[in-house]
Structure formats: structure tokens, C-alpha cells
Point group: C2
Chain length 335, copies 2
Amino acid sequence: MARTLLSRRVVAEAVTHVVDGLIEASLRGVDSHGVHLFPLYMRELDAGRINRQPTMAWHQTKAAGALLDADAGFGHHSGCVAMDRAIAMAIKSGVAFVGVINSNHFGAAACFTLRAARKGLIGFAFTNTDPLMRAFGSTEAFCGTNPICVAAPIASEDPFCLDMATTKVTWNAVGLARESRRPLAAGIAFDQNGQPTLDPEAAEMLAPIGDYKGYGLGLCIEILCGALNGGTFSSEVSEMFGEAKPGRRNICHFLGALDPDAFCGNRLFADRMVSLARQVRALRPESSSTAMLLPGEREGDIQRQREISGIPISLSRWESFLSLDPDFVTAVMTS
Amino acid sequence: MARTLLSRRVVAEAVTHVVDGLIEASLRGVDSHGVHLFPLYMRELDAGRINRQPTMAWHQTKAAGALLDADAGFGHHSGCVAMDRAIAMAIKSGVAFVGVINSNHFGAAACFTLRAARKGLIGFAFTNTDPLMRAFGSTEAFCGTNPICVAAPIASEDPFCLDMATTKVTWNAVGLARESRRPLAAGIAFDQNGQPTLDPEAAEMLAPIGDYKGYGLGLCIEILCGALNGGTFSSEVSEMFGEAKPGRRNICHFLGALDPDAFCGNRLFADRMVSLARQVRALRPESSSTAMLLPGEREGDIQRQREISGIPISLSRWESFLSLDPDFVTAVMTS
């Protein structure tokens, strides 16, 4: 992948961020946000939606908050740059958040929060996306699948890492149902008129978790990513799968970090996290086959397994990659 | 209420915070978190669970993060003191969060976030509570109803204000079903063995919103309120309705504020919030009788109405107040 990106004159730092981010997501078992996205990103690059050599601009007047104009660079790149700045600021000030405007799809949000957790900090990542969530009380969509991601370090094990859409399922679940021609579960999707549907081909909107609650969380993410940064939200963000369109996507992110040193101190925080993990694991499971896992634990297990076995890709998907980008085999093999 | 509190030697600043907070919640129509709580708070005060004259202690080494030991004072008091510090720090640094340990029930979380929104900032409030949410994959509870509250100013109107439990319903909904002897809706509650129940008398646990997602959000709130501050979580927090017990509750909060001035600037942020509100209101409603409201808008309407009509209290509840605290009539009438 790196060779393909470099051959298209993508700036070297962005290449590292994109390749590492996609591979990490695939290794953690989050296939929808891993290397599967690479052909889509290439089409967006070719159409000029993604800027190969962005001129990023910082606006910072205070110690704990800043704004990054990503100039339509790769989302993984602007997200990593923003999170690294938030981490540095948080180590100094205790807490810091960075808004990002004019960005692109940033893949799995865990890519950024884990950067903070690996340095002993609590990381947060939010992004808006094009409208897909049916607004509560409406037959139209307003928010995207607007994810919330929080990671926190736990001594000697994988970080706690919750990475969740505020919709009941991700758009990828609809895609998988389309591929396998299976009906959707009830209550998760709506057709173009905002009416409930089980037909994945007819699905155009998704249901929020907890009705008005998930919708409210989605709106909070539009405020943090879009409004707070003077950026775009809802239909001002262009569609993910309109990749042939040349217009920029205008996605906005919001990333931040908290340093436990500014609160109870690193040692006590580490003790408390170990205790929390122990208490969760000691809960009585629903059935004898259920293990009480922490968010992020399953992904860590898959990563250790896939680091040995590799990332599985179905033949049909592999062929679809090839038809889109003949460089892909070489790209994956050599990255 | 103020007179009753002062007669019990509660420190004057705490009296103001508690009385204003309870009345504001009642005026906004959030009866479960309003003056209805006053008799409970009095019992907690008399049992020594709430400290009349707490010696609050600050720990602050960085510009944007700090920790407050509330010494078992009223939750409304420690919450207001912490939020006011977070606001002052955020105006200076752009962003700030304050953790609070050894606190008590703080009423409606909106009480604190609205303080930030009224100053033009985005406010956040989280609190842990005693375990009530059935852990995903378990038959036991781990997190409480752990609310998330976010408020943001909108020029010339009520602030955006989302104040939601991470459980599908609050414990108060179970209480109301008990009073009215009506069965609960399916899928919201579990009995002492973690099995689904419709019987409000048997209900001991609540379902999270969005299955593992609401549970994951609940865990994040335990981390932010409890672990990050070296405080307590889950069963280390004592029960709300064990008010006769003398032990302290050890509730922890996490409060913060973001100043738009550190991001896109106050003027552009105000424009974007007005645009967001306009776009939400322009969505096609599900039915002709549905109005597209923003979170907090209904509460603002109720407040304007109740400021004229007063706060309705049922006769049976009024009598139960009297049996608990004969001062209550005088208290409410004179506050």
C-alpha cells in the first residue's frame, strides 16, 4: 500500500499514518475499517477528493485547545497529527482537545485513542460523517453514524477501548446483508421515506441506539466536530460512497487526551484500572460459554492471532480490489 | 428549603446550590430530580451521609485539569464548585475538566452544564451511581445509570441540553410503575437474578441503551469519574435508597467546559449553532403532530410555564413529605 501511495505522490508522513492505521484496524478484526478501505481511498485520491500534499494550518491561542485545518488530506493523517498535538498539550496542561476541519474518512477511531492510551493517557476520538441516522421524531436523516471512541491504559494488558457508532449498527452491516442477500434485523434500518425496512437494498437510514438518546449523542458529536470548529455538519458533509465526485468531503473530527497525572496521579490511576478490570471479569456471566470481556479485549486477542495468521480477505473481495486497482496485490504484499 | 437547611447548620453556599438546583430541575419538568428529592436529602443529612460543613480539598498541578475532594458535602454543592472552577480554567486554557471524589447525589446533571452554557461555553457533566445497570453478557449489575450531560449555548434561545441516563430508562420510571401498579415495558428491567421482568416490584437492574454500547459508555463514565480521580466505582458506591445507613456514599463526578474562543471563535460558533438548530427544525416530522425539538427545548418551555403556574406536587407525595419532615411545607413555601 505504501508503494502505491508514494507512487501517487502522497506525502510520506501521511503514507505511514494511512498504512499503519488500515493494517492496525484489520489486525484488530475491524475489517470494515481496515485494508478493505484502500481501493475506496485510491478512488477518492484519483478523483481529487483527498489532497495528496495538504497544507495543514493550525489555529492555537490557548494551552489546552486548538484547531487544525486539514486541507482535505487523508483522515488518518490529520487524525494522527491532531492526536499527537493533543497528547503533547495534555501532558503539559493535564487535558487537551483538538478540532479538525476539512478532513476525510479517518478509518477506525481507535487508531487515534490507542496512541494516547499507549502513552498512559485516556484518549477520545469523535468524527462526523454524512447523514445516515434517522433523526428522532423525523423521517429524514440528520446525523451520521457519528462514532464515540474512548481508550484508557490498563497495566500489563490491552487498553480499555470502546469504539462504537451511535447508530444500532454500522453501515457496513447493511453492506454485508446486501452481499449475502439476507434480510436485516427488525428496528435497525429505514427506507428512503424513513419507514422501517428489513430489505438491505432499500435501507437508506439507520436507527440510533436508545431512540432520542443516540440521536442526542449524534447531535453532540455534530456540535463538537462541526459547530465548535466552524466546520460542516449533516448534509454539508458529502457522501462516503460518492467517491467519483470531485468535491471535498469536509469531514470534521474532535480528538483529545486526559493525563491521569493531573488528576489522581499515574500510580493510583493504574491501580484503579486494574481493580476495575478485575471486578468486571469477576461478574457472573449470563451463560457458561460467555466470558466477561472488557471493550477492546477481543480486538487485542484477534490482533495477536492475526499477527501470526495474517489478515483474511475473501476471494470475491480480492477480485473486486484487483478490478479497481491492479496495483493492489503488490501494494498489500509489500507494505 | 433554605430555612430547613440553614437550621441544620448547612454551610450557606451549599444551601444556595442545593435549593437552586432542586428548584431549577422541578421548573424544567425533571420532577424526579427536583424538590421531590428534598426529604431524601434531609434523611441523608440526619444520618450523617451528607456532611453539613465539608472541608473541600483541591489538588491541582496543571492548568486544565484538577481534582476536588468533596468531603461528603452535598453533590449539588461540590458539582457547582467544581464546574465553576472548570469554567474559569477553560476560559484561560480553552478546555478544562475537574474530577470530584467523595461526593453525594448531585441531582440533575443539567444543573452544572447549564452554568457553562450560560457563559457561552460547552459544558459536560458525568456522575457514577450505585450499580443498577445489568452488565452486558452478565446477570449482575456493574455500572449505575451513569448519566451523560452536554449543554451548548444557542444565541437568543434555550441552550442545547442533552441529559440522559445510559440505561434505557431511569430508576424513577420503575418507581412510577410501582406507584401506579402498572407493568414495565419489555426489555428494560431485570430481576435479582438478572432475568427479564415486567414486574416493577421485582425489578432490580436496568438494561443499557444499545446493549454493549450503553454498557461501554457506562464503563467509560466509571473510568472518568472513579478511576481517573482515584475514587470509587460500582459496588464501592453505596445505595441511594439506603439513606438510613450512616456510611458515606462516595459518589464521583467529572465536569468540564470547552471555550469556543479556543476553537473557531465565539462568533462563528454562534452562527454554526443557529444553523444547526435551523436545520434540525426543518427536518420532515414523522407525523403532523410531531415538532422537531432540540434536546433541552421542551424543558425550557416547561420552565417558562411553571415559572407562572408553579411546580405541581401530588397530594400523596406531599403527605409523604410531611410525614418525613414536618418542616417541609414551610421550607418549600419560603424558599
